[in-house]
Symmetry: C2
C-alpha cells in the first residue's frame, strides 16, 4: 500500500516560513515516528500569479483533487491589491474550496492556559474557552449567481447572491451534530431568519436534521448579530456553532480574536469521503499571510503545525498522533518559548519561527 | 409656527416601559424646558399584529412619513416566532426604515466611565471608547430582489440578494465623512472586496467620494472579518466605521457589547431632508425587546432616553439640549443609581425603570 499523500501549498507572505516548520514535523514522522507521507509542493495565490499569471493553475487544482490532504499556508498581500477580481490571490483559495467541495470548515477557538493573558478580554471570560465553529464553505454569498458589477440606468450596481439549497444546509448541519457528539453535545445554529428567507430555510433544515437524526444533541438557534454579542459577552456558553459562509467568516474571526493568540489557531476544511474513505480535505491556519512581517523569522508556526495535527486526526485517523503534536506544542509553550507575536510576559524566551519549529520537533 | 411633531411607537416587550420614561422627559421639556412637541402614539411590531393583523398599518406608515421624528422602542418576541415571514414584528420596523428611506443608521458605541467594569474586555482596552458605526439601512441583503424560498429540481433553495447601487453607497459615505469631520476625522470603510463584487464597488465609490469631496478626512478600507477582529483586539483604533446593512448589523452589535452596557446605547436612523429642512428620522435603542424581563420594571430606559437626546441633536438642532440630557444621565449614574442590568458593583443603589426615569428628569 502506498503512503498517504500530501500537497503542500505554502502560498504568500509568511506562508512559506510557517510551512517550513510543518515540513520538519512531517520529516520527523517519516524518520522516527513511523508515518511516511508522499509530499509534493506547489504554488497558490500571489506566488502562483507571479509565476503563471493565475492564482491557481489547472495542474495544481488537479493535484489537489488527487491527494489525501492539502496543507495550505496563506494567500494575499498588498502587491496584488490592484489585480482584477478574477486574478486576486483569494480566488486560488476559493477555487480549491469550491472544486474540492470542502463544505465543512472547522474552526476551533481555544484559549491556551499559558496564553490567556494575551486576550483583550478578562481572563475569567476566556480562560478554558474551547468552542468550534463549523462554517459552510462552498455556497452562500461567496459563490451565488448572479454576481458582478452591472450597468443599470445611468449608474452601476454591485450584486452578490446568498443562495442555499436544502442539501447544502443538511450536510453541514450533520457535520456539526457529529462533531458535537464528540464534544459538549450542543449546537448553536446561526442565521438571520428574522430578515432573510435563506435564514428561514437554514433554520428549518437544521431543526429537521436534528429532530430526525440527532435528537440527543442540544440545539438552539440564534441570530447572527446576537451571536456576535454573545461571543463577546460570554463565549463559554458555546460548544459547536454552525453557520453559513459569510456569517462564519466574520464570527470565526471574532471568536479567534477572543483567544488573543491568532497565531495558535488551526482550521480544517472537509468534504465528502473519497474512494479510499478519507474525506477530501484542506488544512490551513486561521491567520492570514501577514505581509508586514514576512521573511523576518517572526511568524508563529504553531497555527500551521496544529493544522497538520488536525490532518492527522481528520484525514488519517491518527488521533493519538494528533494528541502527541498538540502535547508537544503545549510542552514548548509551558517551557516559556514564544515567537514575536506572544512576547510581553515575564520569564519568556523569544525565539524565531524556525527555533519554535525545532523545539516542537524536539518535544515530539 | 406649529410645534415640532413626534410619533412614538413603543412596540413590544420592554418597549412601552422604556418609552414611558422618555415621555416624562418630553413632558418636562413642554412644562419647564421651553420646548413643546406635538406627540402622537401608535403601534408597531407584535402589538400592531395583535390588534390589526399586520406589524405596521398603512395609517401608521403615513403618520411616520408626516412627523418630524419617530421614536421607536423595540419589536419582537417569542410569541410571534411562528408567524409567516411577512407578518413578523421585524417587518414593521423594516418597512419604516425602507419607506422613510432612512439610509444612514448611526450607532455610537461609547463606554461610560462609571460602567467600564461591566465590559467583558479589559478596562484599558475599552475605557474611553467612543466610536460611531454608520450602517447603510435601506439596501443590501435586507431588501435586495430576488428573495424567497423557491422549488428547484426536487428540493428548495433559499435566496437573498446583496445589491448596492453607486448612489446608495455614495450617500451613506457622505454621511460618514460629514460625521467624521465633527469627531476624530477618520473613516474606516468595511466590506469584503476580496470576495464580493458588491464590496469592490463599495470600496471604489467610498474612495471616490473621499478623494473628490473629503480629502481632509483620513480614510482606510478594511475587510469585515478583520474588522470584527480589530473591534475585539483594539476598538479604540476606530473613529467612524461605515459599512453595509448586514455587516453593520453584526459589527454594531459586536461593538455595542464591547461597552458592556447595552442598556445605554442609542441609535439614529436618518434619511434625506424634508421640506422643512429636517431629515427624515427615527430614533431607537440598540437593545431589543427583551421579552424575558418585560413588564417587571427591570429594564434600563437610558438607551431610549439617549435616543431622544440624539433626536434633539439631529432632528431639532438642539445640540445644547442634547448635551443637557446626556449630562443628566451621567449625573444620575455618578450618583450610583443603577437598573437591574447594571448591578454588581459596590455602593450602587438598585432602582426600577421608572425611578431611573424620574431621577433623570430631576437631574435636568
Ligand atoms: C482570504 C479570504 C478569501 C478568506 C475568506 O473570506 O473566506 C479568509 O478570510 C478566511 O476566512 O479563510
Ligand atoms: C430587529 C432586526 C430586524 C434588526 C436588524 O436586523 O436590523 C435589529 O437587529 C437591528 O439591528 O436593528
Amino acid at each position: 500500500m502506498s503512503n498517504p499523500s500530501l500537497l503542500i501549498l505554502p502560498g504568500d507572505g509568511i506562508g512559506p516560513e510557517v510551512m517550513a516548520e510543518v515540513t520538519k514535523i512531517i520529516d520527523w514522522y517519516g524518520a522516527k515516528g513511523g508515518l511516511k507521507f508522499d509530499v509534493s509542493e506547489d504554488l497558490v495565490g500571489g506566488s502562483a500569479y507571479d509565476k503563471y499569471g493565475v492564482p491557481l493553475t489547472d495542474e495544481t487544482m488537479a493535484k489537489a483533487q488527487e491527494v489525501d490532504a492539502v496543507l495550505l499556508g496563506a494567500v494575499g498581500g498588498p502587491k496584488y491589491d490592484t489585480l482584477d477580481f478574477s486574478l486576486k490571490p483569494e480566488r486560488g483559495l476559493l477555487r480549491l474550496r469550491k472544486e474540492m467541495d470542502l463544505f465543512a470548515n472547522l474552526r476551533p477557538a481555544q484559549c491556551f492556559d499559558a496564553l490567556a493573558d494575551f486576550s483583550s478580554l478578562k481572563i475569567d471570560v476566556v480562560a478554558g474557552l474551547d468552542l468550534m465553529i463549523v462554517r459552510e464553505l462552498t455556497a452562500g454569498l461567496y459563490f451565488g449567481e448572479p454576481r458582478g458589477i452591472f450597468e443599470e440606468g445611468n449608474e452601476r450596481v454591485g450584486i452578490n447572491t446568498q443562495r442555499y439549497t436544502e442539501s447544502e444546509i443538511d450536510r453541514v448541519a450533520r457535520s456539526a451534530f457529529e462533531l458535537a457528539r464528540k464534544r459538549g453535545n450542543k449546537v448553536t445554529s446561526v442565521e438571520k431568519a428574522n430578515v432573510m428567507e435563506s435564514g428561514v430555510l437554514w433554520r428549518e433544515v437544521v431543526q429537521k436534521v436534528h429532530d430526525e437524526d440527532y435528537p440527543d444533541v442540544e440545539l438552539n438557534h440564534m441570530y447572527a448579530d446576537n451571536c456576535a454579542m454573545q461571543l463577546v459577552r460570554a463565549p463559554k456558553q458555546f460548544d459547536v456553532i454552525v453557520t453559513d459562509n459569510m456569517f462564519g467568516d466574520i464570527l470565526s474571526d471574532c471568536a479567534a480574536m477572543l483567544t488573543g493568540s491568532l497565531g495558535m489557531l488551526p482550521s480544517a476544511s472537509l468534504g465528502a469521503p473519497m474512494a479510499n474513505g478519507r474525506p477530501k480535505a484542506m488544512y490551513e491556519p486561521v491567520h492570514g499571510s501577514a505581509p508586514d512581517i514576512a521573511g523576518q523569522g517572526k511568524a508563529n508556526p504553531i497555527a500551521t503545525i496544529l493544522s497538520f495535527a488536525m490532518a492527522l486526526r481528520y484525514s488519517f485517523d491518527q488521533g493519538a498522533e494528533a494528541d502527541r503534536v498538540e502535547a508537544a506544542v503545549e510542552t514548548v509553550l509551558a517551557s516559556g518559548l514564544r515567537t514575536a507575536d506572544l512576547l510581553g510576559e515575564e520569564g519568556v524566551q523569544p525565539v524565531s519561527t524556525s527555533e519554535m519549529g525545532d523545539a516542537i520537533v524536539a518535544a515530539l
